[in-house]
Symmetry: C2
Subunit: 78 residues, 2 copies
C-alpha cells in the first residue's frame, strides 16, 4: 500500500520560502493570494498489516521525516 504524507510548517513558524513564492506569484500578476505555505510531500510504498503500517508511518514521521517542533504532518494510507 502507499502512504501519502504532507508536511507543512506550523502556523506560528516563519515560512520565508512560502513568502518568497507568494511575492513571485504577485509579481507575475496573480491577484487575490492571501498566503502561501511550502512544505514536503512524501510517498512511501510499503507492505504489511495495515494497522502496523499506520503505526510505523506515524512513528517514522515523528522520528525521522518531520521536525515536530516546527512542522505538522498528515498522512493517508491507500
Amino acid at each position: 500500500m502507499k502512504a501519502k504524507i504532507t508536511v507543512s510548517p506550523k502556523k506560528a513558524v516563519l515560512d520565508p520560502q512560502g513568502k518568497t513564492v507568494q511575492n513571485a506569484l504577485e509579481h507575475m500578476g496573480y491577484k487575490g493570494i492571501r498566503a502561501v505555505h511550502v512544505g514536503k510531500y512524501l510517498e512511501i510504498e510499503v507492505e504489511g498489516d495495515r494497522e502496523i503500517v499506520r503505526q510505523q508511518i506515524d512513528e517514522a514521521c515523528r522520528k525521522l521525516l518531520t521536525n515536530p517542533v516546527i512542522e505538522d504532518y498528515q498522512f493517508t494510507l491507500e
Copy 2:
C-alpha cells in the same frame, strides 16, 4: 479558498532524496518498504472565482511552482 498542491518527481527521474530516506528507514529497522518518493507540498490561500482560480493555479504550477520536465503535480481546491 485553499489550493493544496503536491509535486513529486516523475517515475523515470532519479530520486536520490527518496532513496536516502528509504535507506534511513531501513537502517532504523522498518521492514517492507518498497520505495520512497520525496516531493513538495504547497498550500495557497486565494480568493476569487473558483474556475478562474483553478486555471491560475494550474498555470502557476507549470510556470513557477514545478519543473514539468522532471516533476508531476496534482492539486485540489477546498
